[in-house]
């Protein structure tokens, strides 16, 4: 079961059971972005209240597996109160964690360097890279956030 515990770390289960920042924001003024994973039916809607370049508030609705839901909850906690710039950096870091690990796993090389402190709680999702089909689940919220940020004029 060790693999399984790598995937379903306690933090993940916690965020899955008690997701942070659930709800909606009136839109407009909030930015609303929808994400969908056609393969497994996971859905997510991200509401962003961005003021003066800062994500003043973020809310999420949607449904999906523990990975996609905990990833979106962790994501919301990680970017709330951050500047758009900082949020984009987190997205980039998260993507790197998912893809870099995947390719190094494939090539049996050394894990690439991801600054775990900068990532914080998000590191809990590292185990996902061992389960390639679940990476899409973990990425969904981040891709949707990225879409939302792109809508800022």
């Amino acid at each position: 079961m060790s693999n399984l515990e790598d995937l379903y770390r306690e933090i993940i289960l916690d965020h899955y059971r008690s997701p942070r920042n659930r709800g909606e924001l009136p839109s407009p003024p909030a930015i609303r972005a929808e994400g969908f994973n056609p393969l497994c039916g996971d859905e997510i809607t991200v509401y962003l209240d961005v003021r003066d370049g800062v994500i003043a508030d973020i809310k999420l609705t949607g449904r999906g597996c523990s990975i996609s839901q905990s990833s979106s909850s962790l994501m919301s906690a990680a970017v709330k109160g951050k500047t758009v710039e900082e949020a984009r950096e987190k997205i980039a870091m998260f993507k790197q964690m998912m893809t870099v690990h995947q390719s190094t796993l494939e090539k049996d090389a050394q894990p690439a360097e991801v600054d775990l402190r900068a990532i914080g709680e998000l590191a809990a999702l590292q185990g996902v890279v061992k389960f390639p089909v679940r990476i899409k689940c973990a990425m969904l919220a981040w891709n949707t956030l990225s879409q939302g940020l792109d809508e800022i004029a």
């Binding site: 399984l4 379903y8 289960l13 597996c65 523990s66 679940r134 689940c137």
Partner: protein
């Protein structure tokens, strides 16, 4: 077990021993394969029929006079005979077209028969429990010709709602319905539906993908007009599907895919299509796959189709009972709760655990179940679900498989509880 099954030597343990993959160890446990509705595991005899084909007699079929090509042709055409007998096709092998899968067979139905026989306003009646293979080609035809695609609803107890059938059949040229739902396990009353369609002057097509391997399917007795299925769901290989229709209908169908083998003549200014199944088999066909399919039919017939049905029926009844006793409502079955007109497919909705997570945890126990919408999104929407975790049995399944399933499910529930 139900009575009245064939007196043959059916023993699921023997089938299991015949199936190499079932000896595999996954995460330290012998595999528990519960995904036969998705694809079935071929016995050694099927795998070897294909290896032997490639080792001894691989050659292109038709038009050749040398010995291995004659043998390859005999294997290919022999499979056509076997399949014709298997479904009791009244016109024999002249009615069997080999495609690449059941999905292509549906496209052949829609794009050859449908395009030639349907016009704007004509209705194709399907059901809310159809697989996408029996929906999307009709939507494509609708976009092209302006036909209407109408759906028979599904009741809250997972059956076709036939209370308004007569009204639903109004203007219908074709009723196209699955013999058995790949999500619910529901077995539909095909014979009655055929009679109702014919009374209204409509034809009936049956999606045999799920039903054909799990009980005898006699097109003559059912009095249907079209049957589509795939070899890989009946212990055969990937890469080959079957399209059956009555000879006079086939004879009048225009070509679909164009190319070699489907022509009588090609000139610089046009072509003349061939007659018979060849008209619909453009290009080099799935020859090795036909050899494998032929072996699968022989194997299934040896087991006895009614024995397989009875065995799966018994397993399903046992699993339904135990799932309800063990999990006291935390595991909901999306499908009939009893075993009346029901096959060995059990879709699960586990409270608080997403189907993907169910399947992931089960994998750690070597248990193979499939999470997802099972290519039946309209049905999933009907029940307000995005996905289920689907368990399905085959002739090699044993009660022990259900034991492991329950052990693993309990773990998943505990983990996310």
């Amino acid at each position: 077990m139900a009575s009245g099954h064939d007196v043959t030597s059916f023993d699921p343990r023997r089938v299991r021993a015949d199936t190499p993959q079932l000896a595999r160890v996954i995460n330290g446990r012998t595999i528990t394969y519960l995904d036969s509705a998705s694809t079935s595991l071929p016995p050694r005899t099927v795998i070897e029929a294909m290896s032997r084909y490639y080792e001894l007699r691989h050659a292109n079929v038709h038009r050749a006079v040398y010995q291995t090509a004659e043998e390859a042709t005999a294997a290919y055409e022999g499979a056509r005979e076997s399949v014709a007998n298997f479904i009791n096709a009244p016109g024999g092998s002249n009615e069997i077209v080999f495609t690449k899968n059941a999905t292509e067979s549906f496209n052949l139905l829609a794009k050859s028969w449908g395009a030639a026989n349907l016009k704007a306003g004509d209705v194709v009646l399907v059901t809310e429990m159809e697989h996408h293979a029996n929906i999307v080609p009709w939507f494509q035809l609708r976009d092209q010709l302006g036909i209407e695609v109408r759906f028979i609803p599904v009741t809250d107890d997972f059956r076709l709602d036939l209370s308004n059938l007569d009204q639903l059949l109004d203007g219908v040229k074709l009723l196209s319905v699955t013999g058995m739902s790949n999500v619910l396990g529901t077995i539909n009353p095909v014979k009655e539906l055929a009679a109702a369609a014919h009374r209204r002057g409509a034809l009936i097509a049956v999606d045999g993908a799920q039903s054909v391997a799990h009980g005898a399917l006699d097109v003559n007795d059912l009095d249907i007009d079209f049957l589509m299925f795939s070899a890989h769901k009946m212990l055969g290989p990937t890469g080959i599907g079957i399209f059956w229709t009555r000879e006079e209908i086939l004879h009048a169908m225009p070509p679909f895919l164009g190319g070699g083998g489907m022509i009588a003549d090609v000139r610089l200014d046009g072509y003349t299509p061939a007659d018979g199944p060849a008209r619909f088999e453009a290009g080099t066909p799935p020859i090795a796959e036909a050899a494998g399919l032929g072996a699968a039919v022989v194997y299934l017939e040896h087991l006895g189709m009614s024995n397989i049905a009875a065995h799966e029926h018994a397993l399903t009844g046992d699993a339904l009972t135990r799932l309800s006793l063990e999990f006291l409502g935390r595991v909901r079955v999306i499908g009939p709760g009893d075993t009346v007109s029901r096959g060995g497919v059990i879709s699960l909705d586990v409270e608080g655990v997403h189907p993907h997570d169910v399947a992931q945890v089960l994998d750690q126990f070597g248990v193979c179940v499939r999470p997802g919408h099972h290519c039946a999104k309209p049905l999933m929407r009907r029940f307000g679900l995005a996905a289920t975790a689907r368990v399905s049995f085959g002739p090699y399944s044993l009660v022990q498989d259900t034991d492991v399933l329950i052990e693993a499910l309990a773990h998943a529930i505990e983990m996310f509880g």
